[in-house]
């Protein structure tokens, strides 16, 4: 009954909407703990889905579910303290919607049926929209509107992609259930033209949700306008789920012998996203937007790594884990910074090293990690992607890749230095507090631990996940 990872958050969410706020916060954390336990049971193979035609445990799915579950726990602990510090009138709605959001993301991670996956991704859109609109300001409205409209167009195109894949089955005279697991066994018999057409629409559709340029335009607005725990969740968990949709399409094409075609598409989108992120990070004035563009960059890196294949795909999967850990930690620190300085503009912050030392350490360490320095895992993953690309002889694209990460590092470093050591005369408004600092360190620590000690089961799961798209060590 691994479906409980979806059902329990949904029920808890409904209950939390009617409970008093204090009790609702308890429900939030307890559900997060329960979810993590169930996910670990699923990881160990003790729990299996009871609706095999619609849900399945796949290595990449369970990997993403575990990452989601872990960061959700950290974020919900943080959110309890963050919410009591900010005056949000509709906190029950926040608690309910984050839980629904968790439920829909678990559904994405476990979905095996083409349409169930699509429904689950649509559900994530609907459930996360209220989170973005939580502050009820004019800019929050704008961000929510853009998010819903752009992602809905993406979803509509993804559904069209699903139709085309079903059509490719009809033309190939195949009668199997439309699940990814059964399609992969008959992939070579599918009609290649319609399969390719379907994949393009799926990449555009789910890529919109994942934040691949040029469909990324909702992402910086949504991430900067939503309250920080929600931004952390969007960036650390939602983008991975959308990536899973793209990845499943890529798997199908690879098994149908069209791997080159889908790889090139992914590499193209990946590099373009990185370049766009580089352009917009360089002169950024808002630190949450800076982090949002960094998410676009990292999604680009993951798409690139998956597209290159071989060792780089292994790197991409590692990158996905570490990006979630580090980026959600960074967004949570940005929440502390926002509480302390009362502004999202970099120009109105400064001297963080002295004013907010604990947050400063977490923020700076997160920045060091996300830029690809040891001891954090992104160092390893970027290195593996670069090595893998050289092995595959993709010299031109890897030079674009390296150029983009250098520009992004240079641009972001300047801004982070300003925030950390720049001048700031006034005092901060809200002090740090233990509950808003521990989750940041927990996430960072997880990344450090995973980069020096990789559990065998994790290693094996990643290898299983990437073997279907021609990846391997």
């Amino acid at each position: 009954m691994l479906e409980f990872t979806t059902l329990i958050p949904v029920f808890a969410g409904i209950i939390a909407m009617f409970l008093p706020v204090r009790l609702g916060r308890v429900v939030l954390v307890v559900t997060a703990l329960l979810h993590l336990q169930m996910t670990i049971l699923g990881w160990m193979g003790k729990l299996t889905p009871s609706l095999p035609g619609y849900f399945a445990v796949t290595p990449e799915g369970i990997l993403i579910l575990l990452v989601t579950s872990f960061i959700f726990l950290c974020i919900s602990v943080y959110a309890v303290s963050y919410m009591s510090e900010t005056e949000i009138t509709s906190e029950p709605i926040y608690i309910g919607c984050t839980l629904f959001f968790l439920g829909s993301m678990s559904m994405v991670a476990l979905a095996d049926h083409l349409v169930v996956l699509w429904i689950a991704i649509e559900a994530t859109t609907l459930m996360s929209a209220p989170l973005i609109f939580l502050h009820r300001s004019k800019t929050a409205l704008e961000a929510t509107w853009k998010y819903v409209l752009i992602c809905s167009v993406g979803l509509a195109l993804a559904l069209l992609g699903c139709f085309f894949i079903v059509l490719s089955m009809d033309i190939g005279q195949i009668h199997v259930p439309i699940t990814f697991s059964s399609l992969s066994s008959v992939a070579t018999k599918l009609d290649p033209v319609w399969l390719k057409a379907g994949f393009i629409f799926i990449v555009i559709g789910y890529g919109t949700k994942m934040g691949l340029a040029p469909m990324h335009t909702w992402l910086p607005d949504a991430h900067s306008e939503s309250p920080s725990p929600a931004s952390a969740l969007l960036s650390g968990a939602l983008l991975n789920c959308a990536f899973l949709g793209v990845y499943r399409g890529h798997q199908l094409l690879f098994q149908a012998g069209l791997g080159d075609y889908s790889s090139n598409l992914l590499i193209g989108f990946g590099l373009f996203s990185m370049l766009i992120a580089a352009v917009f990070i360089y002169n950024q004035t808002d630190y949450k937007r800076m982090l949002a563009y960094s998410s676009i960059e990292n999604m680009g890196i993951i798409a690139f790594g998956v597209g290159v294949g071989g060792l780089a795909t292994y790197g991409a999967m590692l990158h996905l884990i570490h990006h979630s850990l580090l980026k959600s930690s960074l967004f949570l620190s940005s929440g502390n910074i926002l509480l302390g300085y009362g502004s999202k503009l970099i120009a109105r912050t400064g001297n963080m090293a002295r004013l907010m030392p604990k947050t400063f350490v977490a923020f700076f360490a997160g920045f060091v990690g996300i830029s690809g320095f040891p001891p954090f895992g992104i160092f390893i993953s970027k290195l593996l992607i670069i090595l893998g690309a050289f092995q595959m002889g993709r010299h031109f694209s890897i030079s674009v890749f390296i150029f983009a990460i250098i520009v992004i590092f240079a641009g972001a470093a300047r801004l982070v230095m300003k925030m950390s050591f720049g001048k700031y005369e006034k005092d901060i408004t809200v002090d740090e507090n233990l509950m808003r600092v521990v989750p940041l360190y927990a996430l960072l620590l997880a990344s450090i631990i995973l980069s020096v000690w990789m559990p065998d089961s994790l290693y094996q799961t990643i290898l299983d996940a990437i073997s279907t798209v021609g990846g391997g060590v």
Binding site: I119, T125, E142, A143, K146, V148, V153, L160, W194
Partner: protein
């Protein structure tokens, strides 16, 4: 039957062209109601769908109810609420939009013709696919070419109708598989957006939902 379905296709295309050329929001809503009814009727009159099961008949009625009554009703309420009648200053003018609509028809016909190389379609399906692609493209176009939130939602609805038609055209054997039916969830998104417009207007003092006003978030 072919005669009748062709009439429905041309009515759909007519509604698409009308919506591209009209600037009164109330008229647009009425056109969308008309289009919704026609689009949800089309599967009734397509030859391969003659062997209808009870389930599919119920579903078609539900579609008729949603596309023809529920969503236009919602939009009607929204237009009443926001008290604006005209789409002012579209990003792309009405004549240009109409011209674009005509070009979409040509492109859709061209694409469908190219598709024939891979699958031999019944003549009826060729016409259906042309209609579907035209509606889809015009919807996307309307979404991008207009400023008002409600008009963008109308564009999205039109795109959704187009996808429903593409689904109807490609789903020859998928009736046991139930894929097209889930297109109804896109209508759910439309409803959510319209609800957003209505609720937002109640909650705040803006008297105008103009997406041009929603332009504070950008990068320099």
């Amino acid at each position: 039957m072919t005669y009748f379905s062709d009439a429905l296709f041309s009515l759909t295309i007519l509604s698409v062209l009308l919506s591209l050329g009209s600037n009164r929001l109330m008229t647009l809503v009425k056109i969308m109601a008309f289009q919704g009814i026609v689009v949800s009727l089309i599967p009734f009159f397509i030859e391969h769908h003659n062997e209808m099961t009870t389930g599919s008949i119920v579903f078609l009625q539900v579609m008729l109810l949603i596309k023809g009554l529920l969503i236009p009703g919602f939009m009607y309420a929204a237009v009443k609420k926001i008290k604006i009648q005209w789409e002012v200053e579209p990003i792309i003018g009405y004549h240009a939009s109409l011209f674009a609509g005509l070009i979409f028809i040509l492109v859709a016909a061209f694409i469908t013709d190219r598709l024939q190389i891979h699958i031999s379609l019944h003549e009826e399906y060729v016409h259906l696919l042309i209609t579907a692609f035209t509606t889809l493209a015009a919807g996307l176009f309307l979404l991008m070419a207009r400023r008002k939130a409600i008009t963008q939602v109308i564009g999205y609805l039109m795109m959704d109708n187009g996808i429903y038609l593409v689904g109807t055209a490609v789903a020859k054997e998928t009736h046991t598989q139930h894929v097209v039916e889930f297109g109804v969830l896109l209508d759910l998104l439309v409803c959510v957006m319209v609800m957003g417009i209505i609720l937002h207007n109640i909650n705040s003092s803006y008297d105008d939902v103009d997406t041009a006003l929603l332009a504070e978030l950008k990068d320099n």
